[in-house]
């Protein structure tokens, strides 16, 4: 059964319809990239998947594992975080909030989960460093580690590489692929980087005003929508 099943979804933002008749599904182990121009409804869709926004029509169904909130979310960075005095460990640990339930503080178990995830992303060495003193790439890894803490099956990344330079971007991508392959994490990533998406993702959802496009990556690269878009990018 699919992790997420999206049927004829219509999304609106400030009472303006941004995406109509969206249908797609995400299966375990998929790497879905959501691409599309600004204002095409990517962020709105992310919010709808997270359950922070209701759909105008249609339905989004989650499998059992996800229905109690096992989505690891990596939001876009806010300006508030840039000079926030928090240690790396504190940030990562806050991903375990769901596990904590009714206890007041985190237990050993949650701290262990946090440490394991930091290890996975190779940031255990910064555990006690201050978040604001890290480089952009390191900060993004910290947030990814936090997302992992709250994820059972699925990572939802909202433009995770914006603001990172080429080298760090490549590193970050390979990290995501590693999580996807080795740790069998299902990944949904919102991205502007259509070429990367086409070559590395397993599925593509291209949001567009009139008629969005969802398919496997191979089919997508052969489609008109990709080619016209790619040329558009190339001409810039």
């Amino acid at each position: 059964m699919a992790l997420i099943e999206c049927k004829n979804v219509c999304l609106s933002y400030d009472n303006v319809v941004v995406a109509e008749d969206l249908s797609f599904s995400v299966n375990e182990g998929d790497f879905l990239c959501i691409v599309g121009e600004n204002g095409s409804g990517k962020s709105t869709l992310v919010k709808a998947i997270l359950g922070l926004k209701s759909v105008s029509s249609g339905s989004i169904d989650f499998s059992k594992e996800l229905s109690d909130g096992g989505i690891g979310y990596l939001p876009q960075q806010t300006t508030t975080q840039k000079d926030f005095p928090a240690s790396v460990f504190e940030v990562v640990l806050s991903g375990c909030l769901k596990e904590k339930k009714n206890r007041i503080f985190f237990s050993k178990k949650e701290k262990q989960i946090a440490c394991e995830n930091m290890k996975k992303l190779d940031i255990l060495g910064f555990k006690n460093k201050c978040y604001r003193e890290l480089s952009g790439g390191q900060q993004q890894r910290v947030l990814l580690a936090r997302a992992l803490c709250s994820a059972n099956k699925l990572l939802l990344l909202d433009e995770p590489v914006s603001g990172l330079d080429v080298v760090v971007t490549a590193e970050f991508y390979s990290l995501i692929e590693k999580l996807n392959r080795e740790y069998s994490m299902t990944v949904i990533m919102v991205s502007h980087d259509i070429l990367y998406a086409a070559s590395h993702a397993s599925h593509i959802l291209h949001l567009k005003k009139n008629g969005s496009y969802f398919s496997k990556a191979e089919e997508y690269t052969a489609s008109d929508i990709f080619n016209s878009f790619k040329d558009g990018v190339g001409n810039d």
Partner: protein, 593 residues
């Protein structure tokens, strides 16, 4: 320093100030962490302005300020949060709009309610020295609520503060936490306003976190150290303000500024990228800087100290000049008579310092007005152990208002002059009653000199009675001629006694400086119509209104003395109630005869 400390711990009112202050400081610091880190610092500031507006309205409408302001500020907190989240007007503008709006409403309410009275003034600048037991109880409850809120929901608050969208995605009720923090902030600000004043309370919220952020690298450290910083800064501020008789709220904020400087410096040292400096050296250097600062503070504070020795002889303290003069005339050399107001100081905005309160509690006789402008006296009476002090309220002595008819006071209707005037001593017959009361009190305290006191008192009363008969004759000669006082009007009791026909710009107690245009036009018309050659201003006033009327009409300006205070020159020249009232007589005589 040690003397000041032992004083703080020995005096009930200072101890209360200390307890309330430290608790409120801790609350402010905790809330401040969330507000500052979420970029909501201005909300604290905005709310304090709203609080001021609400309290101004409450004072004008004569309802309990705290209970009135509380719901309004809480609602404002909701509004600000909502506007921040989804309003069309963005955060900073929303806050600026609300705070200036509230300020404007407050100023309007103040003016409609008869000017800046002491209640509003104390909420503007705080009056930590007059905390009552119920203030202590309220702040203990508030602190308990806030601290347990922050402990129980510590992890959630961190998540919400650090990253709202992530917290939302993991199912945390972000809105509920934001709302709770806003409501708690609103409550803390309203309660803290009593202590720090509306103008400065937001400093207590913002400073500690910003200071802690200079050196702390984790959220937990920021939270804990900002609480400590806030409490320590408050403590130092209170001790310094007691020692140097400075306004407490302002001193506390200054201590915070100092701390910010020190911690920024330490932060700089820590971030130096010099390889030669190991972590240990940096730490040592930071500790050294801190210790040096503490030593400097101790050094500064070891200079002079409060005097709280009990006077051996008879001591009388009075608030204003009239009562000071009476006591001085009665006691002569036999007592030490002091006036709380400095020469030239405005009585309506007077706030007692710690030294004043100590002096009052240890003096033999304390004479005060008993009206709105020394409401603080009642708080002192209830908060200080002063069983040996006789308190004399001049308004109570003359039992003002009850026996006076209103017809004699012929003032424009929209000036609420009929209602209330606490300058009871402007009527000579009241002055006599006050003198008799003071005489009784000092005679009681010092029986040996009873005869002398009574003799002095009789001779002064005689002088005053002579003046009275002169005024009475003048009044008969005047036959209802108009007297224009282009100023506030503290002479209701005087006018009542002799049936003078006064027209004034605004009521006696207001610290207003602007007359409303209708009254001003009316006065100008009056002067022109009746060809009045002389108009009056009140002593120690700016005389702006009088000058304005003079420019319009060419009338001359003379001064009427209300005797609530005198300039330092006049004090040195030995002016007295009788000499000033004689001047009033001469000036009035020029107009009326």
């Amino acid at each position: 320093m040690i003397e000041t400390l032992s004083l703080v711990f020995s005096q009930q009112f200072l101890l209360r100030a200390l307890v309330v202050g430290m608790l409120i400081s801790a609350c402010c610091a905790l809330l401040g962490v969330s507000l500052v880190l979420k970029r909501f610092s201005m909300i604290g500031d905005g709310l304090s302005h709203v609080g001021f507006g609400a309290i101004a309205i409450a004072c004008a409408a004569n309802v309990a300020p705290l209970y009135f302001a509380l719901p309004i500020v809480v609602v404002a907190a909701f509004l600000l949060l909502r506007m921040n989240e989804k309003g069309k007007i963005k955060g900073d503008s929303a806050i600026a709009l609300i705070s200036t709006g509230a300020l404007a409403v407050g100023v309007l309410a103040t003016s409609l309610g008869g000017g800046l009275n002491i209640d509003i003034y104390s909420y503007m600048f705080g009056s930590i020295l007059t905390m009552t037991d119920s203030d202590v109880v309220i702040s203990v409850i508030l602190t308990a609520v806030i601290i347990s809120f922050f402990i129980v929901f510590y992890e959630e608050i961190f998540a919400v503060t650090y990253d709202e969208s992530f917290a939302k995605a993991t199912g945390t009720k972000v809105g509920a936490y934001n709302t709770s923090i806003a409501v708690l902030t609103a409550v803390t600000i309203v309660i803290g306003m009593r202590m720090m004043g509306a103008m400065l309370i937001s400093g207590l919220i913002i400073f500690p976190t910003v200071i802690a952020m200079r050196v702390c690298k984790s959220y937990k450290k920021v939270v804990v150290s900002s609480v400590f910083i806030s409490v320590i800064c408050f403590f130092l501020g209170l001790v310094f303000s007691v020692k140097y008789q400075a306004p407490t709220g302002a001193v506390i904020v200054c201590v915070n500024i100092l701390a910010l400087g020190i911690f920024s410096f330490i932060g700089k040292i820590n971030s130096f990228q010099i390889k030669m400096m190991s972590e240990k050296v940096k730490k040592a250097l930071s500790v050294f800087v801190l210790i040096a600062c503490v030593l400097i503070l101790v050094f500064i504070s070891s200079f002079e100290s409060l005097d709280f020795s009990r006077n051996s002889g008879l001591s009388v303290i009075t608030t204003n000049f009239a009562s000071y003069d009476f006591a001085r005339q009665i006691c002569g050399e036999k007592a030490q008579v002091t006036m709380l107001l400095s020469p030239g100081e405005e009585s309506h905005t007077f706030e007692p310092t710690a030294q004043d309160i100590i002096n009052i509690s240890s003096c033999d006789v304390f004479v005060y007005g008993g009206g709105e402008s020394d409401e603080w006296v009642r708080e002192i009476i209830s908060s200080v152990d002063a069983t040996e002090t006789t308190f004399i309220s001049m308004m109570d002595v003359v039992d003002s208002g009850s026996e006076h008819s209103e017809e004699s006071c012929d003032i424009e209707d929209h000036d609420h002059i009929h209602e209330y005037d606490e300058h009871v001593w402007t009527s000579p017959s009241n002055a006599v009653k006050i003198i008799e009361a003071i005489t009784d009190a000092v005679s009681e305290k010092n029986r040996n000199n009873k005869l002398l006191f009574e003799k002095n008192s009789e001779s002064y009363i005689e002088k005053i009675n002579n003046l009275s008969s002169k005024f009475r004759q003048l009044s008969q000669k005047a036959k209802g001629k108009s007297i224009i006082v282009a100023d506030r009007f503290p002479f209701k009791h005087f006018a009542d006694e002799f049936s003078f026909n006064f027209y004034a710009a605004f009521p006696g107690c207001s610290a207003q400086s602007e007359a409303d245009p209708v009254t001003l036009a009316f006065l100008i018309e009056k002067v022109k119509e009746e060809k009045i050659p002389v108009i009056f201003k009140v002593d120690l006033s700016s005389g702006n209104v009088a000058r304005c009327i003079k420019d319009e009409t060419g009338a001359e300006i003379l001064t009427l003395y209300s005797c609530h205070n005198v300039s330092s020159d006049d004090l040195e020249n030995g002016e007295s109630y009788v000499s000033l009232m004689t001047k009033n007589y001469e000036n009035l005589n020029m107009v009326l005869s």
